[in-house]
């Protein structure tokens, strides 16, 4: 029997969402400050309207939905999934007001792309965008990378026993510290330290490459945010190709590779467990799949005879491949080059890398290295049991912070998520083909959206069909939250319509 959520349940969910939206409003004060310093008056107004809307929404919810009850798993899952959708709607206000989006749907597309660290965009005339809006684009991908819920947890949920439930519902399972609020703060501490170090390194690189100091500073912060969050946004339309710089490419490559690692791994290394880098299943999985993808890429390039020197292979092949594998989306080539220049084999090497993606509990998307490790270990165990005596008991383990013995529940869980990813990739590709795009292009962009990568072979544009835009928004959202919260939201919808109330005594 499906139970209908009570009025109290709905109020509690709305209360949680209200807190998340207040968090969005608070983050908007940073681009507002940048707009003030840059004397961009209309952009200042865009953010004032955005902040006022968020605060107003929060106050309405606080006045009407406050209940004395703590969050359960069900509430946590729904707050996370619906919170992201509501955050998209409110976060899109400054985007839409900027006048660079044809429709609110386009603005929402860019918001979801930013929050989910995807990096695809429908914004028009990017090269004439204000500093304030550029700050917002990059900041929301940086904030989204840590998790919008993590932000809310850090500042707005202190003392709530149900906090862990919404934290996990955002696609993060690792508890670095016994207290989830302290875990959220630890994630921020790691990210802000890297922000300082990474931006400084990029600043020096950009100054060396001839950027003026003021814009060099802003670009260094934006590039860091785009790379670290594996979002892949950049302030200019040519993305990384704009800088024509090997040094900038090396620094961003290092940043997005580190950014794609599991937060638990970062924390382990920070607390002195350096051996974890070599032993961790995700690092091993990432190294193996990278090696295979690079091999396929080089076969592809040798067939088309392009990028023949080592430097060219590194800057145009390896860089874009690793950018895809870490689900970043920073690019040193034109979008059409994936389709027209790379050739079929090299293009599919990038698609494969994007589909697999980065680490669990990181800023990245895709199947995740942890699940690839679990599935391959399980398959290896099955092969071993086939060639062993019947009485032999074969058990496999993986190392992820600690040794974990694989059982059916772990393997089933990993398989369910991987199959869900394959499902959304496939459906997205099919939709693209139905709309008349070539299969390679349709699958490239569908996998890119679902794995939160952001590379495009040219399909994603403001002129793409509205249904594809909506589907890509769904792909980005479901892929980022790793499906469980999304299933819970749909379940709530069904329960609201078809569920039965418990009889009152």
């Amino acid at each position: 029997m499906i139970l209908k959520p009570t009025r109290e349940d709905l109020k509690l969910i709305a209360w949680g969402i209200g807190r998340v939206i207040l968090g969005v409003g608070l983050i908007m004060t940073i681009p507002l400050t940048v707009a003030i310093f840059s004397t961009e008056w209309n952009t200042i107004l865009d953010f004032l309207v955005g902040i006022a809307s968020c605060v107003l929404f929060w106050l309405i919810i606080e006045n009407t939905c406050k209940v004395k009850k703590d969050l359960t798993w069900f509430h946590g899952l729904v707050v996370a999934s619906a919170g992201w959708i509501t955050a998209m709607l409110f976060g899109a206000i400054p985007h839409f007001l900027s006048g660079h989006f044809k429709s609110y749907l386009d603005a929402c597309f860019d918001l979801m792309s930013g929050y989910t660290t995807t990096g695809l965009y429908l914004l028009q005339d990017l090269d004439h965008v204000s500093h304030g809006l550029n700050m917002w684009r990059h900041l929301l991908t940086y904030a989204g990378g840590q998790g919008i819920i993590v932000i809310a947890l850090t500042f707005l949920f202190a003392g709530t026993a149900g906090a862990f439930k919404i934290y996990v519902s955002e696609g993060k399972e690792e508890k670095l510290l016994p207290n989830v609020i302290r875990t959220a703060r630890a994630i921020w501490m790691i990210s802000i330290t890297y922000l300082f170090v990474g931006s400084t390194a990029l600043m020096f690189a950009l100054l060396h490459e001839g950027m003026p100091i003021g814009r060099g500073f802003l670009h260094s912060v934006w590039l860091f945010m785009g790379a670290w969050s594996t979002g892949g946004f950049a302030p200019q339309n040519l993305n990384l190709l704009y800088y024509h710089s090997l040094i900038v490419e090396i620094v961003t490559l290092i940043i997005f590779v580190i950014g794609s690692f599991n937060f638990a791994l970062h924390y382990a290394v920070w607390t002195g467990k350096r051996n974890e880098i070599y032993k961790n299943v995700e690092i091993r999985s990432f190294a193996t799949t990278s090696l295979i993808a690079v091999l396929i890429l080089s076969i592809g390039f040798s067939k088309v005879g392009l990028y023949t020197t080592l430097t060219e292979f590194f800057r145009k092949g390896f860089y874009n491949l690793v950018s895809g594998h870490t689900t970043t989306g920073n690019s040193t080539i034109f979008s059409v080059s994936f389709y027209r220049e790379f050739g079929f084999i090299a293009m599919w090497a990038v698609i494969l890398a994007m589909a697999i993606g980065a680490s669990a509990c990181s800023t990245g998307g895709g199947f995740k290295g942890l699940r690839m490790g679990i599935i391959s270990k399980y398959l290896w165990g099955e092969v071993k049991s086939l060639v062993s005596p019947e009485s032999a008991v074969i058990k496999e383990k993986i190392h992820h912070i600690r040794d974990i013995w694989l059982d059916d529940a772990i393997v089933k869980g990993a398989l369910l998520i991987v199959l869900s990813y394959v499902g959304i990739y496939f459906l997205g590709g099919l939709l693209g083909i139905i709309y008349g795009y070539s299969p390679s292009v349709a699958f490239f962009d569908a996998v890119s959206a679902g794995s939160n990568t952001g590379l495009s072979a040219g399909l994603t544009s403001p002129l793409m069909p509205a249904l594809l835009k909506v589907y890509y928004i769904f792909e980005m959202w479901a892929g980022r939250l790793e499906f469980m919260s999304v299933f819970a939201l749909f379940g709530t919808g069904i329960a609201l319509i078809r569920g039965k109330r418990l009889g009152r005594k």
């Binding site: 309207v49 660079h100 080059s337 027209r340």
Partner: protein, 195 residues
């Protein structure tokens, strides 16, 4: 015999004319402005050839020793940007990096961005599909750069309706905040009385 001489003369004339025509057509080819979109969609065709593009200089001039990088856009927004009231064209910008000598970019004064429409330049140069000198970048090495039209600052008149909207939302928020505070005070005092 005469007919034979005549035939050779005509043949010679045709040969001279065809050489002249082909060299002329090469000149025309180089001077005819090519849209950047056509270049990047047909890289093989234009690789290593002399091309001419016309567009807005956007972003930054990045000086590297005796040379410099500029970015030239020739999309519809390089003609009328959204910031000066241009209409939506359903695309993002289309541009390409141009590698030039430092003195060639001296005349470029205004760079395109949120506050400015950049200088419109005509760049004649050699297109590279995957430039060996620049790690495989797709670029143009400039032979000449001519500033055709000076850039100018955009007018950004204050949009008062946005200010009005922000003030209205803030006023309603202030009322709701006061209501929330009153509710909290009432709850505290009632719990105090209960105790």
């Amino acid at each position: 015999m005469n007919r034979g001489k005549k035939f050779v003369k005509v043949l010679f004339l045709l040969l001279v004319l065809s050489i002249l025509f082909s060299s002329l057509s090469q000149v025309v080819f180089a001077e005819e402005t090519i849209p950047i979109n056509r270049l990047i969609s047909n890289m093989k065709e234009y690789d290593g050839k002399e091309v001419t593009i016309e567009g807005e200089v956007v972003g930054d001039i990045m000086i590297r020793g005796q040379s410099a990088w500029i970015t030239v856009n020739d999309d519809p927004y390089s003609r009328i940007s959204l910031e000066e009231g241009g209409s939506f064209k359903g695309l993002s910008n289309i541009g390409i990096g141009v590698w030039a000598q430092k003195e060639q970019v001296d005349d470029i004064k205004v760079l395109g961005g949120y506050k400015n429409k950049g200088d419109i330049v005509i760049v004649r140069g050699v297109f590279h599909r995957a430039c060996h000198e620049h790690g495989g970048d797709t670029d143009i090495h400039a032979i000449s750069i001519e500033v055709r039209k000076q850039g100018y600052p955009f007018r950004h008149p204050i949009q008062w309706w946005k200010l009005l909207l922000a003030i209205s939302f803030s006023l309603v928020s202030a009322l709701l905040w006061a209501k929330l505070r009153m509710k909290k005070k009432a709850a505290i005092s009632s719990s105090g009385k209960g105790a």
